[in-house]
Subunit: 500 residues, 2 copies
Amino acid sequence: MNLEKQVEQFKSLQETLSAYHIAGSLINWDMSTGGSKKGMGYRAKAIGIFTMKAFEIQTSDEMKTCLDVIGSRLEDVDEVIKRMYVLHKKEYDKNMKIPKDEARAYAELQAKSQIIWEEAKEAQDYSMFKDILGEIIEYQKKFVNYRGFEGHPYNPLLDDYEEGMTVEILDEYFENLKKHIVPLLKEITATELPYNTSFLTNSFPVDKQKEFCIKLMGDLGFDYDAGEVKESVHPFTNGLNVNDVRLTVRYFENLMTSSVFSAAHEGGHAIYEQNIDPKFEFTGLDTGVSSGIHESQSRTYENIICRSKAFWNYYYPTLKTFFPDELSEVTVEDFYAGINKVENSFIRVEADELTYSLHIIIRYEIEKAIMSGEVTVDNLPTLWNEKVKEYLDLDVPNDELGVLQDVHWSFGLFGYFPTYSIGSAYASQFAYYLKEAVNFDEDLEKGNYENVNNWLKEHIHQYGSLKTPEQLMIEATGKRFDSKYYVEYLTNKYKSLYNL
Amino acid sequence: MNLEKQVEQFKSLQETLSAYHIAGSLINWDMSTGGSKKGMGYRAKAIGIFTMKAFEIQTSDEMKTCLDVIGSRLEDVDEVIKRMYVLHKKEYDKNMKIPKDEARAYAELQAKSQIIWEEAKEAQDYSMFKDILGEIIEYQKKFVNYRGFEGHPYNPLLDDYEEGMTVEILDEYFENLKKHIVPLLKEITATELPYNTSFLTNSFPVDKQKEFCIKLMGDLGFDYDAGEVKESVHPFTNGLNVNDVRLTVRYFENLMTSSVFSAAHEGGHAIYEQNIDPKFEFTGLDTGVSSGIHESQSRTYENIICRSKAFWNYYYPTLKTFFPDELSEVTVEDFYAGINKVENSFIRVEADELTYSLHIIIRYEIEKAIMSGEVTVDNLPTLWNEKVKEYLDLDVPNDELGVLQDVHWSFGLFGYFPTYSIGSAYASQFAYYLKEAVNFDEDLEKGNYENVNNWLKEHIHQYGSLKTPEQLMIEATGKRFDSKYYVEYLTNKYKSLYNL
């Protein structure tokens, strides 16, 4: 077998897959950002065709030959081909182990399930959703068994979104987090913030919010010549290519800070994608390596940078030029306290930085129990409500504010939630070493984000998917992933803010 | 061979081709309407991949088997499959007859050529463009010979853009046109319009122009829930799907009427695409059947409807609400005269309704001479300038205003120009019978476009590409294509306007 020829073929298959990815993402972007209303049907059909064609390539005889030949000669190919091989081999094996008719039946179930979840959530009635959720779970359990796994049956699902992640690592991580955050939270909720944060729910004109967010993202490093910003109900970032990264923000007139931090968050995702080395274009490596690493970058911009005191010491006067009347009585200290205010709440996506991970722990523990069979769909709401009481000290009034709040399970997304919390923890570990390398606070006090961006680009962004999350972490920080950085960051920040 | 199975396979191949068309069009749309500047490279590459994948399907063994089996059983398939067969068979035969390496070399030449044409045009120097144009022409001649043809060697190229069109038909058409238009034009240019048309080059705020054009297109029948309008330097319409038709308009502050009629023109193209029966989605028949028929619909909305007196008798007060100051001194009679003013000019795209076809005759006669070998690239500018003198009585001052003005030849688009003129002629023939069926002037005087739209939809739009241009014409008007309707329309309109 000619290795060179197979490498060329392998690249060519990937280029077609990249083109399908671009097409699917672009159609999706249109669908989510106000493309023609009546065009929903044709868009879904076209996306279906691209998904099917991509699956055909991923499971084709040509792909198998490429993987066989390249797999037997890994020492003779460069690091890009080697990494492409690892990712495709994993995908190929996974796809081949799941019988095609079951994969199809599952896909149909997913499509139905999301609609049923919406109806159930609207009706605040989990019982409407229970049966189809049970079916989805049964498929996931079957698929996991087809695929095979080491250790806990939840492991292959964790690995789907965070390469190398296991129950063993996460148990330790979440236990340590719980041990420190739950008591810290009790202290905080017993304390009154010595600032006036009533401005948070005041009215701020939406068009001014937009102007400000556009400026903010540009200042942080988003390149408007290599991307686009629109508005949508659920903010998201869509990386078509390193030179075309699109994101959306949503604006609330009476929750200006929410708009600002959704912009900083998506801006962070987008800057990551824009900073990937263009040499990875059309190799499939031209995107963030994992959900956790991606989230670490959005959280770096949103929290580490934009929820810091140093940042607003410089940037608050700018914000005031957009809202001179609205903020005339609000000091920068009030503002900083407001955007970091801690509050127990029911809804994950509205949670502050401190309680956020508690929302994730609840989901992690439940998903783990689902996969091990320790909980059935009948008991989910009860288990959910118990955990909310335990960690957040709240009584869940209905399923909409409880077990039905997130869309994820309705399309079988088990194993994804933990990446939200890991992302913040990664961000803290990166930030610790970032702050050793650059004068972080001083730079932010001067409105200089270049050194920070360069460090992130050099150690994380540029690589796209070339390195695993673990490699990135070890090479950037010299250490494996360790929860202590996150615990330390949260403890210092909130003890200082609440004078504890 | 199982016919049913082959029909299913055939439909499935077409669905993939349709998905590729959607992807390519969408990427193109982004490219032309302000998508990320730095993303030009990846877009070109992705479009290249889709073009190549489409070519692979069109020339695949699977396609050949489909065509063989369906072609032998045409009496047993429905009209949609039959028509799809005819169109694919034509494409397949054409592709198979041209050697792949020559097709590739030609594509590379096209890419280079366009850049050279731009530079030559900029420098007003045809000699820079001559050599590569000569190469393009040689390829076209070779390809025509590979493909084979009846009658004139220009015929297969004409048929590429207007199914069934031949030199025999066009010679007769353009001769008749010349016979009547050239003397009419002489009479007109010797006459002074008895109206004040100085408003044409006054300043009209662009944002008001936009608002007006959006309203106008909506009133004419463009469905904003099934499409989108943006701005671009060269206006165009992009039919992704019957439920997603996008168009652009360009606005000139000092040429408001140009903006308005570019909107009406593209609006006409778009309404055609939106009115196609949705049952043709993903069959490849869900688009206008030919360039000529498409142009007939854009010209119907632009000229037959929007350059009529009846239209402005109703709509002019609306226009005045957008420009109360700018139009305060302009009567509806002045306005009507202004938008129909005849003037000999060098540039085709700026030509009025009457002289427009003379610009096309020049190109038609030259292209015909190129294909028959009666003219060489060396003589093109001389021939061009002679014909401009003969038909438009103008002395061409440089190549930019002469032989270099259009992009078409730089990518080998020979045979396309005639469809611009045929489109107007088709429009006149349709209009003659449309006006027998509905109270055209009365409806327009009331701002009612429903009956007109319904007639066009019923006789033309709904069919997409199901019927040939000739079938559409005969079924809608009971007659074959005949230049007399166009001559009559132009003669009546301009004699009346100029009091001749």
